[in-house]
């Protein structure tokens, strides 16, 4: 049992990472990762929706005919996102002013439909909840890493304006990595996003290949 949860966690965070393995959700990924803070905001909002949508869809999966599952899932996800949007606007207005832009983008995030289709429609509620959470955390980490790299090269800072997103207590995150930096605009513009995603993807492949080679060289360790 624990092995299954460990596998779901591993899949979400690394092996089957939304951005770097499934190559899903690239549109919002490239669009919002001009800074680490933006990536974090988008990641957190997506995680919340992913968790809820996986729970709801796994709980109704028996009732939904396979032939009409896609429209049903889309309607459910879009409703969920709109509900989150409205309640944040009403009851957490300060947070909404920061995250509002990202929330509307989540509807078009194919990773959420992807998880509904690939996991939540076939597995129980607890497993699906964990899968949604871990996929979300993996997505958040990817966005923060991409945003961080682009921000450091593009404007010489890291987590700039984090206090707007997380509150003044988190202003310690804000760092100036390169003082007096003139800025390297290309990294902040969309082409920089493509380049950083490509390079990080290559890096992940290299790491995976090395660890696979290591595991093959030492089969006795791998089985322990």
């Amino acid at each position: 049992m624990n092995e299954k949860y460990a596998r779901i966690t591993n899949d979400g965070l690394w092996n089957n990472n939304v951005v770097f393995a499934q190559m899903l959700a690239l549109c919002p990924t490239l669009a919002v990762t001009s800074s680490a803070t933006n990536g974090l905001g988008m990641g957190l909002a997506t995680t919340a929706v992913l968790l809820l949508s996986n729970i709801i869809i796994s709980s109704v999966r028996q009732l939904v005919s396979p032939e009409v599952r896609i429209p049903v899932y889309i309607v459910l996800i879009a409703t969920l996102v709109t509900l989150v949007d409205m309640s944040l606007n009403a009851w957490a207005h300060e947070l909404y002013k920061v995250l509002g832009l990202f929330i509307a983008l989540i509807v078009v995030n194919c990773a959420i439909l992807g998880r509904a289709e690939a996991f939540a429609s076939k597995n129980g509620m607890v497993d699906s909840a964990l899968d949604g959470l871990m996929m979300g955390v993996g997505f958040t980490l990817s966005l923060v890493v991409i945003g961080g790299v682009r921000e450091i090269f593009g404007s010489g800072t890291l987590f700039a304006n984090a206090h707007l997103l997380l509150g003044p207590a988190f202003s310690f995150l804000e760092m100036t990595i390169v003082p007096q930096y003139k800025g390297f605009l290309l990294m902040i513009l969309p082409p920089g996003g493509f380049m950083v995603v490509g390079l990080l993807l290559a890096a992940k492949r290299v790491i995976d290949r090395r660890s696979a080679a290591k595991a093959a060289a030492m089969p006795s360790v791998a089985t322990v």
């Binding site: 800074s35 009732l63 005919s65 396979p66 049903v72 509900l83 606007n89 009851w91 304006n161």
Partner: protein, 206 residues
């Protein structure tokens, strides 16, 4: 009949889709009802706050209630007026600039003499990290307008530096500040053109 067989039926699928649509619309309608008042209240509080930012100091009346609507270049302009000793001492209104990604909605406060008391951007879709330095939280740029009027700098200098004016542009984003500068200039021209009504010189108390 078992659920698996039932799911194959066309009628079931139609009813399922209809049912899901009905349920979700009901949920949305309910949520919209439940949040409407709070969203309005939050937006009114936002508006009051942004009015206070561009109109520093105390006024004797409730700005949200002392308003006048005048025809502007881009449709009707709703003007909020702040009074001191019965006279209109300052006015606040929205101006709309055309940015890189759609409209930039600004509010500007103008004193009786036609000087800018403050400008704030309240809504925009400019590129995060590039154009969003027009927000006071992310840059001091917007404060450059304070104290300026149509004669200072002169009409030709009311532009970003790239266009021969006095206002800074940002690295990588010229269109955004240009849009804001043009909008503010348009706002000042609107003030000059409608001074009598704006300042309520006829003396009609609302």
């Amino acid at each position: 009949m078992k659920l698996e067989e039932l799911r194959e039926k066309l009628v079931y699928q139609g009813l399922l889709l209809g049912g899901v649509a009905l349920l979700t619309s009901a949920a949305l309608a309910f949520a919209s009802r439940a949040t409407e008042a709070d969203i309005k209240a939050a937006e009114a509080a936002d508006l009051k706050q942004s009015l206070a930012q561009v109109l520093p100091g105390e006024y004797e009346n409730d700005l949200l209630k002392d308003t006048v609507t005048l025809p502007g270049k881009e449709g009707e302009v709703l003007v909020y007026r702040g009074r001191r000793a019965g006279k209109v001492d300052a006015v606040v209104y929205q101006v709309i600039g055309h940015g890189y990604a759609g409209n930039i909605v600004c509010v500007m406060g103008v004193s009786r003499e036609g000087k800018i008391l403050g400008v704030r951007v309240i809504n925009h879709k400019e590129t995060p990290g590039l154009g969003d330095k027009i927000e006071p939280a992310k840059g001091d740029w917007i404060h450059d307008f304070e104290g300026k009027w149509l004669g200072e700098p002169g009409a030709a200098k009311w532009a970003v530096k790239k266009d021969g004016g006095v206002f800074d542009q940002f690295a990588g984003a010229t269109i955004t500040p240009r849009g804001v500068v043009n909008a503010v200039k348009g706002g000042l021209e609107f003030f000059e053109g409608n001074k009598t009504q704006l300042l309520d010189e006829a003396g009609t108390k609302p």
